[in-house]
Amino acid sequence: MQYLLMIYLNEVEYAKMEKEAEGKMLAEYQTFTQSIIASGNYKGGDRLQPTTTSTTVRVRDGKILTTDGPFAETREQLGGYYMIEANNLDEAIGIAARIPGARLGSIEVRPVWQYNH
């Protein structure tokens, strides 16, 4: 099965992180990503720019409406994601728990909708 692992964290707090700590975090992310590529679980993944760069788009009555910022103001923001292949939810939870960001923020594990299932 495929799962989307969404990494949420408080980006204001994250921005305050010391250079050295951030460097260590990025190195941990690299190690983690390499490990799930090697195990065959990795399908994709990216880090996202902060929500100050985001734009929300709606189409109403055929007109495109845009607003500055994310769809909802929340305490934690989506900061990145991995798309993985796992045998079941237990394996997906195990992988999510190894994401370095899980120790700071939280990871939402969502199964991907499968057609013809």
Binding site: A86, N87, N88, L89, D90, I93, P111, N116
Partner: protein, 415 residues
């Protein structure tokens, strides 16, 4: 065979039949629907002829065929479904030859671990366990939660869909995760029991049906995993608490406090079984386990001739162990109540006030009640009165409301 007798067989066999069926057909919802079909068939067949020698095997067999029928009837029956049907039929042949009692035990454990999966909210774990492992009807589960049957059916349906769509595995967790997951299973059993032992709301103090189901679950898990840590402690705890049932309410359903209970009403057979289990649980090497320590406290109460003859000093010591290994506001409150019996109400009140100041127990109506009791014993009547009023207003449980109202009347009478 009467419909009632058939119903009893269903209740006894539903959990295990479903557990095996889910493995055979590979889908939780399909297995449940097919088992319902099999129950309907049994109602027709058994009424005249009586139940077959092995009702569970009969139910599993008929349900498996019903599952195949259901798959075939699906609108878009294609190659993939044909494959599934083929797999179910093939497994059926090999299964009958190879199934050992051990396999069937494993099926039951798979079902229990699936229902108690940590990706479900605790109340969903409890509802799923009652419905599938214990074989309660949706209406009965709804009653346990004081929810409407429709709302409960929706909730159970969503949970079963999550099993399939989120890929919750139908298996006993591996060694690395087993202890943690087992703790979750014990928590669910204890949640069922505590709701039965002291309902959180409603007209009755004791929901005996739920307490009984919890004890049944405890026995089941002990039978399946006798070496599991703390399971003996949990079963002992439930047996010892439940043994006092007959003494806990009077004829009118009013609560009788431990202090005033007629100890001859306690179930001595159940106490003996509980004491034996505590002994075994305490004999296990390693660090003390929370349910086992609580059971040891219950054992001291069960063995005492009277409230005042109770070994309060040892109970205080055991609560201090609990505060170290499994601290919680409820344990702190119970510890304070025990301290009052050893060092007097003044020291206990200081502990309760400190707990209240930290705001640890905001939604727990027993804090004002314990506080009120201590103030009454210290003869600080005005404060006791307002604490009893607070206790009365914060409980949803009718017998407790009446108890606190009675205490208020006693205080006013200067008793």
């Amino acid at each position: 065979m009467t419909p009632e007798a058939i119903d009893q067989v269903f209740r006894d066999e539903a959990g295990r039949a479903l557990a095996t069926l889910i493995r055979l057909v590979g889908d939780f919802e399909l297995a449940e629907d097919a088992l319902q079909d099999a129950f309907a068939a049994a109602l027709l067949n058994w009424r005249g002829a009586g139940a077959p020698a092995n009702p569970r095997a009969w139910l599993v067999n008929v349900a498996r065929n019903k599952a195949i029928d259901r798959i075939r009837r699906q609108r878009n029956f294609r190659a993939k479904e044909a494959e599934i049907v083929h797999a179910i039929e093939r497994d059926a042949v090999s299964d009958e030859a190879a199934a050992t009692p051990n396999d069937l035990d494993d099926d039951m454990l798979r079902l229990i671990f699936t229902c108690c999966h940590p990706s479900f909210a605790p109340e969903v774990q409890v509802a799923l366990t009652l419905r599938t492992v214990c074989g309660l009807t949706t209406a009965e589960v709804a009653r346990a939660f004081l929810a409407s049957e429709e709302a409960m059916a929706q909730r159970l349906l969503r949970a079963k869909q999550k099993i399939r769509l989120a890929g919750i595995p139908y298996e006993v967790p591996g060694r690395h995760a087993l202890e943690e997951r087992l703790r979750g299973v014990l928590t669910v059993i204890y949640l069922v029991f505590t709701e039965g032992y002291l309902a959180t709301s409603g007209p009755e103090l004791i929901r005996h049906d739920l307490a009984r189901e919890a004890i049944r679950l405890g026995r089941l898990v002990l039978g399946l995993m006798p070496e599991a840590p703390d399971i003996k402690g949990l079963l002992a705890l439930m047996l010892l608490h439940d043994a006092r049932r007959a003494g806990r309410t009077d004829a009118s359903g009013d609560i009788v406090l431990l202090e005033e209970q007629d100890r001859s009403l306690w179930n001595s057979e159940q106490i003996a079984e509980g004491l034996d289990l505590v002994e075994q649980a305490l004999g296990v090497r390693g660090r003390p386990q929370p349910y086992t320590v609580q059971a040891a406290i219950a054992a001291l109460h069960a063995q005492a001739q009277s409230y005042h003859d109770t070994d309060w000093r040892q109970i205080v010591g055991l609560y201090e162990v609990l505060l170290r290994i499994a601290p919680s506001p409820v344990i702190e409150l119970n510890h304070a109540a025990a301290v009052s019996m050893v060092d007097g109400p003044a020291r206990a009140l200081a502990l309760v006030e400190s707990l209240a100041a930290r705001g640890g127990l905001r939604q727990y109506d027993l804090l004002p009640a314990v506080r009120a009791d201590l103030l009454r014993r210290l003869d600080r009547r005005e404060e006791a009165r307002s604490a009893y009023r607070a206790a009365r207003d914060s409980t949803q449980l009718e017998p407790l409301k009446r108890l606190y109202a009675r205490r208020l009347v006693e205080l006013d009478a200067g008793a």
